[in-house]
Symmetry: C2
Subunit: 245 residues, 2 copies
């Protein structure tokens, strides 16, 4: 132990360390996919024991902010690598349960002013600009999900359809590597609705057909909302999977 904490610990020491590491991650002090310093090095740096750093990193790993790999190190979590991370935010499964990766097809990108709901959900100011993306997820060539994705324009300067089309990889991987915006967690509200004519056409079904409507608000560091998304899903051959525990 080198430096005893001056503050009598409003929070436990390991949570303070976790907070410091979180701020470093947010500041992109280490890039996604990169290793952070070893536990021993961090312990030395912060003047605490290795056990305390360990608890801090364990907490970060629980939050999916970093990934531990025995013998190698601890790495900044990324949407770009690891096939598994795709299904963390994609809960749609084929009815036989298989984890099939869909093809993402961007229909259009449009720029507009945020409506009242979006202003509230994204914590924007009245009149702020947003980008609205419409995209379809195809499974084996069949359209299954129609997403309308709303983003604060200020955070995604230069996002165009051409640029996404040129990029290979998932939407969140695109956001992370091209705009430095990392989606960390989300809240979804799910309802059943009847398909309108436009959605029915795109999803290759009939108007009035029951659809799953999934309304998502996605958060980045500091609980800041950075995406609002509505997904419409045809659940004939697919379903939304959720684990309760």
């Amino acid at each position: 132990m080198a430096i005893p904490p001056a503050t009598p610990a409003f929070a436990p020491l390991y949570l303070q360390i976790k907070g410091l590491l979180e701020r470093s991650l947010e500041a992109r002090q280490w890039r996604p996919g990169e290793a952070i310093p070893s536990e021993i090095e961090l312990a030395r740096r912060y003047g605490v024991s290795q056990g305390t750093v360990r608890k801090a990193i364990d907490a970060l790993a629980d939050d999916n902010l970093v990934v531990r790999r025995q013998g190698k190190g601890t790495f900044v979590a990324t949407h770009t690598e690891e096939r598994s991370s795709l299904f963390r935010f994609l809960r749609i499964r084929r009815n036989d349960g298989a984890e099939v990766a869909p093809v993402s097809r961007l229909l259009d990108v449009r720029r507009t002013k945020a409506g009242q709901d979006i202003v509230r959900l994204l914590a924007l100011r009245q009149g702020d600009a947003v980008l609205v993306l419409r995209r379809v997820l195809d499974y084996a060539g069949e359209p299954v999900v129609l997403d309308e994705i709303t983003l604060p324009a200020a955070l995604f300067r230069g996002l165009t359809k051409a640029r996404y089309d040129a990029y290979g990889g998932s939407m969140y991987s695109f956001f992370e590597s091209e705009f430095g915006v990392r989606m960390l967690k989300a809240q979804e509200r799910i309802r059943a609705i009847a398909a309108d004519a436009a959605a029915a056409r795109i999803l290759n079904t009939e108007p009035g057909a029951p659809l799953l409507a999934v309304d998502r608000v996605t958060l980045t560091y500091g609980e800041r909302p950075v995406e609002v998304r509505r997904g419409l899903c045809v659940t004939r051959a697919f379903h939304y999977l959720n684990e309760l525990y």
Copy 2:
């Protein structure tokens, strides 16, 4: 340290301890809501350090099998106490987000032979008997969810409508305290369907109206399935809430 483990630890020691504790829980060595022995006592009993027992109990707490309370002890988790545990398995929320507890109204209990799907999902044998419960969840007097709950008859001997009606409390609390069956985790598959005439009548909506169909398989100790449930939900004023992280 008293007894060094004879086996060279196929699993880490703390996971072995966790397994032993789990078996004790399953055997109802301590009743739901009761305190388990203190960390120091367990460490003495198993001949390991307190830190190892601590990691084992932490893992059990992560699985929601026990609840830690500082200064008091560690308690066997129960569906009977704690309002919060209700919403662990009930994801329906009012559109304004409020956690309102519904009133559960049992329509009927019927005994029958398990069909092919149920045999598979509940790991039964062809011809085994099951109980089928139909119940409605009312929110402010309005029917919102219609559940069809299928249980292995062998585990729920003596379950009747009268007995449930006499019992105050949630369904899982009823199962736990009256039949010793504890629901630990579940998997849900969610789809949008059109209401049939029967469901529409009970849920006070029109045939063909879009409904959320939530298919749940619920597991107890040892990953054994003990409940299959289909919930139909009118999502006009309500939705299904899910957190992704």
